[in-house]
C-alpha cells in the first residue's frame, strides 16, 4: 500500500507547487504570448519574502500566514516592474521574451546571492505545521497538505475572480480576442499589467510553499520553471482547468517514476511523455469548442 500512497501524496504536493507556478505562466503566455523564463525567480522571491517575514515576526506561528499576502504583493510588484520596463515592448514575440527573461532570471539569481548569500536560508515551519497525519500507513507531513490546500485555494480564488467579476471577464476577453476586446472599450494595456501582477503574485504564493519544504535558495526557481512550462502546454495555454489536471498528473507521475527509477530519470521520462502527448494533442488537454473559427 505504501508503494502507492507515498508517491501519490508527495506527488500531489509537488503538483500543487507546479500548479501555483503554472497558473501565472498560463495567464501571461495565453494573454500576451510572453514566455517568461524569470517566472521561476518569482517563486524564489516568494520564498525569500517568507524568510524575511519570519525574521520580522520571529517565533510567531502566524508568520507563514502573513507571508502569503506579503509574497503575493512583493512578487506581483516585481512582475509589474518587469512588464512595464521590458516585456511590454515584446508582446506576441515569444522568442524575444524567452531570451530577455532568461537574462532577467540570471540577474535576479545573482541579486539573491548578493543579498542573502549562495547557501540559502532555512524557513522554520510553525509548530502547527510540523506534524503529520496518517494516511494508509504513510505519515503525510502537514507541510505537504498545507501546500495542496494553498494551491487549491489559489485556484478557487482565481477561478471565481475570472468567472464572476468584471475584471475576470475583461481578462478572458483579452485572452480570447485582444483586438475585439479593445474595440469594445476594454483597455487591454491595463488588463495586461493587472494580469502580469496577479500571475507573478501567484508564483510568489507558490514560493511560500516551497520555502516550507526546501527552504530558500537563489537557484530554486530553475528546478520548477521547465516542469511548470510542461504543465502549461499539456494543460492547454490559458486553460485553468487543464492546468490543474496537468499539474497534478505531472507531479504524481514524476513521484511514481522517481520511486521506480531515479529523480533525474523521472524528469527525462516525464518530458518524453509530455512531448509524445503533444504529438497526439498539440492543443493540450483542453481547447476552445466552437462551431466555426471565431
Amino acid at each position: 500500500m505504501d508503494a502507492l500512497t507515498t508517491p501519490l501524496l508527495t506527488g500531489s504536493a509537488t503538483g500543487a507547487i507546479l500548479l501555483m507556478a503554472a497558473l501565472g505562466l498560463t495567464l501571461t503566455f495565453g494573454q500576451m504570448g510572453v514566455i517568461n523564463m524569470a517566472h521561476g525567480e518569482f517563486l524564489m522571491a516568494g520564498a525569500y519574502a517568507t524568510y524575511l517575514t519570519q525574521q520580522v515576526i520571529s517565533g510567531s506561528g502566524l508568520s507563514v500566514l502573513v507571508a502569503i499576502p506579503v509574497a503575493f504583493l512583493v512578487t506581483g510588484l516585481l512582475g509589474l516592474l518587469l512588464e512595464m520596463s521590458t516585456i511590454r515592448w515584446m508582446y506576441r514575440r515569444p522568442l524575444d521574451t524567452l531570451l530577455v527573461t532568461v537574462g532577467v532570471s540570471l540577474v535576479l539569481q545573482q541579486l539573491a546571492r548578493d543579498l542573502f548569500g549562495a547557501q540559502g536560508d532555512p524557513v522554520t515551519p510553525p509548530s502547527w505545521m510540523r506534524g503529520s497525519i496518517e494516511v494508509a500507513g504513510y505519515a503525510w507531513p502537514h507541510r505537504q497538505l498545507f501546500t495542496i490546500v494553498l494551491a487549491l485555494a489559489a485556484v478557487a480564488l482565481l477561478h471565481a475572480g475570472l468567472k464572476r467579476t468584471s475584471f475576470g471577464r475583461r481578462v478572458r476577453a483579452t485572452v480570447q480576442n485582444r483586438e475585439l476586446a479593445e474595440t469594445l472599450g476594454v483597455t487591454t494595456r491595463a488588463v495586461d499589467r493587472s494580469t502580469f501582477f496577479i500571475g507573478s503574485g501567484l508564483a510568489g504564493v507558490g514560493g511560500v510553499a516551497i520555502s516550507l519544504i526546501s527552504g530558500t535558495n537563489p537557484t530554486l526557481g530553475t528546478t520548477y520553471i521547465i516542469p511548470a512550462f510542461l504543465v502549461v502546454v499539456a494543460g492547454g495555454v490559458g486553460q485553468v482547468k487543464g492546468t490543474v489536471i496537468a499539474a497534478f498528473a505531472i507531479g504524481i507521475a514524476t513521484a511514481f517514476l522517481t520511486d521506480w527509477t531515479s529523480g533525474s530519470m523521472a524528469q527525462v521520462i516525464s518530458f518524453i511523455a509530455v512531448v509524445l502527448f503533444l504529438q497526439i494533442r498539440p492543443q493540450g488537454l483542453f481547447t476552445v469548442r466552437t462551431r466555426a473559427l471565431a
Binding site: S166, R170, A181, E182, L184, R289, T290
Partner: protein, 230 residues
C-alpha cells in the same frame, strides 16, 4: 459641433510595406449615415479599421464629431461613441452569450433593451458563444456593440455568410437603427441594394481610392453599379 459625425481626411494607410489606402477622403454626415461599396480587396475593411484605430494612418487625419482621434487607441474611441461590428461574426467563444454582453455593461435595463432588439439571444444567454450559429453570433456582435451606446455605428459586412432569413432580420434592425435619428451608421456591404436602402450617402472605393460618391437611395443603384464596373 461638426456637421459630419466622421471625417477621414487625406488618409494613406496599409499593412507593413504595402499601401492599401491612398489619400482617401470620406465624410459621414450625422444621422443617416453612409455605405462604402467596392469589390473584394478594394480596401473597405482597411478603411473601417483605420476609423476604429486598429490600423495607424501613415498620413492624414480622422475626426469624430470634429475631434481629432487619429492617435487615439480603439478603447478610447469606443468611449467617445464609436461602435464597431467587425467582419466575420466575431465573439468571445469561451464566454456565454450573457458574458459577451456583460463585458460591455452589467446594467440589466441596457441588456434587456438589446435583447428586445434581438429576441433570439434571450433564449441563448447561458450558451457558450462559440456554439452559436453564424447568424446568432452576428446578432450577438451587433447587440454587444449597441451596449457601448455608440453615436457612430460601423458595421463591416454584417450580412456576409449568413442564411437568408436571418439576413432579413439583421437588415431590418440596421434600417431601424439608421432611422432612429441619434445614431449614424457607416456600413460596408456587398449587397448594393441593401446598402443604398439603409443609408443616405454612399462612396465607391476601388484599389484604395474613392472613385465615386453621392446621395444614396434606390435611384443611385445604376450609378453605383456603373462606378463599380469600371
Amino acid at each position: 459641433m461638426s456637421e459630419a459625425m466622421l471625417e477621414i481626411k487625406d488618409v494613406t494607410a496599409g499593412y507593413g510595406r504595402s499601401t492599401v489606402l491612398f489619400d482617401v477622403n470620406v465624410s459621414i454626415p450625422k444621422g443617416g449615415g453612409a455605405a462604402i461599396m467596392g469589390h473584394n480587396g478594394a480596401g473597405k475593411s482597411t478603411l473601417l479599421r483605420v476609423a476604429v484605430g486598429l490600423i495607424p494612418v501613415r498620413s492624414g487625419t480622422v475626426l469624430l464629431d470634429g475631434e481629432d482621434i487619429t492617435k487615439m487607441v480603439p478603447s478610447k474611441r469606443v468611449k467617445r461613441g464609436l461602435g464597431y461590428v467587425p467582419q466575420g461574426q466575431l465573439c468571445f467563444p469561451q464566454m456565454t452569450t450573457l458574458e459577451n454582453l456583460q463585458l460591455v455593461t452589467t446594467e440589466t435595463a441596457a441588456i434587456d433593451d438589446v435583447l428586445d432588439t434581438f429576441p433570439v439571444l434571450a433564449d441563448l444567454l447561458n450558451r457558450q458563444a462559440g456554439l452559436l450559429s453564424g447568424g446568432q453570433r452576428q446578432q450577438l456582435s451587433i447587440a454587444r456593440t449597441l451596449l457601448t451606446k455608440p453615436r457612430l455605428l460601423i458595421l463591416d459586412e454584417p450580412t456576409e455568410g449568413i442564411q437568408p432569413n436571418v439576413v432579413a432580420e439583421i437588415e431590418q434592425v440596421i434600417v431601424d437603427l439608421t432611422n432612429r435619428g441619434d445614431l449614424t451608421v457607416l456600413l460596408v456591404e456587398q449587397h448594393v441594394g441593401f446598402a443604398l436602402r439603409s443609408t443616405s450617402n454612399y462612396y465607391v472605393l476601388q484599389s484604395g481610392r474613392i472613385t465615386d460618391g453621392g446621395v444614396g437611395g434606390a435611384g443611385a443603384m445604376d450609378e453605383v453599379l456603373a462606378a463599380m464596373a469600371v
